[in-house]
Structure formats: structure tokens, C-alpha cells
């Protein structure tokens, strides 16, 4: 499965569930923007490693709303402590999807440790996360997106030829907050 295909499936699931989507820095955000732009997408432009944490804070603040995080293997490895925090505090409306392409895809596809020996699903279980799924094909991924906890999806390395996101940070957050808190001023 190509990553853009997995992202497209996740975007469809988010639309169906009226979910908020936090998308990791670099090509994953660009691919999401190109396949399905919605105000409910928060595109990260910096702070590598923070996607899972941003999504967790959001899910705790809005328990009535499903929050899906699209993260990568390199980014999760940069913030592994997040898995322990998710294990202890992750609410029912929170789902972390780790798109594991075994590489730093936005910087020249240098291999990460998942390319050789590291098993992120096992780390998530070891951190204490109760619901951990492995979904390496479109069907199981679509199913897993209905759930909570952590999903690890192996995807092919490489980026789709998509353009840069032509929204600035202030515009991304303005429309995102409006979609999160529709009745309240942003």
C-alpha cells in the first residue's frame, strides 16, 4: 500500500466520522492536502514528533469528537514517550495511526530503525496501550480507523508528486479552530 493510498482511506474515514485529523509534518500533510482538504485537517508545518501529543490534548479537550492522528515512524521514534502517555490517558475518541514507511520520507528516505529491527506495534503494547492493531492493507486499515488506540500500517517508502500546501499557519489554525469550536469565537 502506498502512503497516499493509506492517507486517502484515513481521510475518508475522518469524513464519515466527522473526525478531526492531525497530520504530520512534511509529505504526509501535503499528500493529505492534495487528496482531501478539509477545515478539520490540522497540517503540521513544524515541531516534528508532536502530532500524537497535539491530537491527544485535542481529544481530551473535546471528548465528544473523534480525533485521528496521522503520524510517521520517524516522528514517533522522536517522541516515544507519547506512547506511555497515550496508554495511561488516551481517551476513547483518540486514534493514533502510524504510517510506517521505514524511512524519513521527507528528507531523502534515510532508513529508520523500523527498517531493520524496531517494531512500533510491540513498543506500543509494551508501553501499555491496550488496543494496538496492525493493518497493512486497505481493508484492515479502513476497519481499524473506526477504532481507538494505536494502528500501525506498513506503507511503501516514497512520496507522491504533490505540491506544497498553499495555506499559511495562521490560516490553517483559524479554520481548524472554527471547525472544532463552531459556536465559539476563535
Amino acid at each position: 500500500m502506498k502512503r497516499i493510498e493509506a492517507i486517502s482511506i484515513a481521510a475518508g474515514a475522518a469524513q464519515e466520522q466527522n473526525a478531526l485529523l492531525i497530520s504530520n509534518i512534511g509529505y504526509p500533510s501535503r499528500e493529505l492536502y492534495s487528496v482531501c482538504d478539509r477545515p478539520e485537517n490540522f497540517y503540521m508545518l513544524g515541531s516534528m514528533g508532536m502530532a500524537s501529543s497535539i491530537g491527544l490534548g485535542l481529544a481530551l479537550a473535546r471528548p465528544e469528537r473523534k480525533v485521528i492522528v496521522l503520524d510517521g515512524d520517524g516522528s514517533v521514534l522522536m517522541n516515544l514517550g507519547t506512547l506511555a502517555t497515550i496508554a495511561l490517558h488516551g481517551p476513547k475518541n483518540y486514534l493514533l495511526v502510524i504510517l510506517d514507511n521505514c524511512s524519513y520520507g521527507s528528507t531523502g528516505s534515510q532508513p529508520t530503525c523500523t527498517c531493520y529491527c524496531t517494531d512500533l506495534a510491540a513498543i506500543a503494547r509494551g508501553a501499555g496501550v491496550r488496543k494496538v492493531e496492525e493493518a497493512n492493507d486497505p481493508e484492515p486499515l479502513a476497519q481499524a480507523l473506526k477504532g481507538q488506540g494505536v494502528v500501525v500500517a506498513k506503507v511503501e517508502a516514497g512520496n507522491a508528486p504533490v505540491p506544497i500546501i498553499d495555506l499559511g499557519p495562521k490560516e490553517i489554525i483559524r479554520r481548524f479552530i472554527r471547525s472544532v469550536q463552531p459556536a465559539e469565537p476563535s
Partner: protein, 165 residues
């Protein structure tokens, strides 16, 4: 009033209802007060940068967040403070135990103790270092400034502050 209670009252007065923390010995009483408060969602985190991410998400979800940490943790947060909070304009109240300054007995605290204010100045993050009896007002004013400027703001609580019981 105890130094910890003054900060807690400041948090309540400011309307803080979400907190992430990494402990410091000087924050232990405050962390108990925050944990025991049913109106504050409190997450102890594994690293301060994780707390910056959590607080950013909570703020986008409508909460008023604070990050409680030692100044050593400020160094762990720099990229997220810059390329998340400052980039998008996300307010954050940082309650920082400022170690490594006058009266510090542990040598390892001194490098970050000296660097704390210069780092905040470089990031253009506003900060206050309240003296005796001024903790509550400093917390309230810092959160107001963070919201007004849509940026992080820090309250630095040095060793002298905590001695004033």
C-alpha cells in the same frame, strides 16, 4: 499563603483548566493541588516538549493550558515552542521552577539556570520573575499576556521565591 498555593490560586483565577507537567522538587506541592482539582485535566508527561504539543491541542480544543516544569525542561521544548506555538500563534502558560540561580547547591543546574532568561529573550517569549507574595498576580498577568499576544508566556519561580513560606 504558601508559595505553591499562591501559584495554584493564580492558575484558578486565570481559568487554567488543562495542565501538563514534568516534576521538580519545588513543584511538588503545586502538582498535588493541580492533580486533586477536578476541574483541571492534568497529564504528567515524559518530556516537556510532549507537554507543549498536548497543551497546543488542548487550546485548539477550547481549553486554557499550562505547562509546569523545571527550567531544564525549557531546553527540551525549544523547537515545539518555536515551530508550533510561535508559528501558529498558540498561547501557553509556562510555570517554570528556575533552578541554577543564586543559592543553587547542585552544579548541574547552573548551565541551564544561566541560559533560561537568554533563551526566553531570544525566543521573544515574555516572562516574569515574581518576588515574595506576587506569585498569584504574576500567573494571572502572564496568562492574559499569552492570550493577548497569542504566544507562550513564562513565570519563572527561583529559589528565593520558594523559600518565602
Amino acid at each position: 499563603m504558601s508559595p505553591s498555593l499562591a501559584i495554584y490560586r493564580g492558575l484558578k483565577h486565570a481559568g487554567i483548566d488543562f495542565a501538563a507537567s514534568v516534576p521538580c522538587i519545588n513543584l511538588q506541592q503545586l502538582l498535588i493541588l493541580v492533580s486533586d482539582d477536578p476541574d483541571i485535566i492534568h497529564l504528567p508527561v515524559t518530556r516537556e516538549e510532549e507537554g507543549v504539543g498536548l497543551c497546543a491541542g488542548a487550546w485548539m480544543g477550547g481549553r486554557s493550558p499550562a505547562l509546569l516544569m523545571q527550567n531544564s525542561g525549557l531546553g527540551n521544548c525549544i523547537n515545539a515552542l518555536a515551530s508550533l506555538d510561535l508559528l501558529y500563534g498558540i498561547p501557553l502558560l509556562m510555570i517554570i521552577s528556575h533552578r541554577g540561580v543564586k543559592g543553587e547547591p547542585i552544579a548541574g543546574q547552573v548551565p541551564m539556570g544561566r541560559l533560561t532568561v537568554p533563551l526566553l529573550q531570544t525566543l521573544e517569549i515574555p516572562y516574569q520573575s515574581p518576588a515574595s507574595g506576587k506569585g498569584e498576580e504574576a500567573v494571572v498577568a502572564s496568562w492574559e499576556e499569552a492570550q493577548e499576544k497569542r504566544c507562550p508566556a513564562a513565570v519563572l519561580l527561583d529559589l528565593e521565591y520558594w523559600r518565602q513560606a
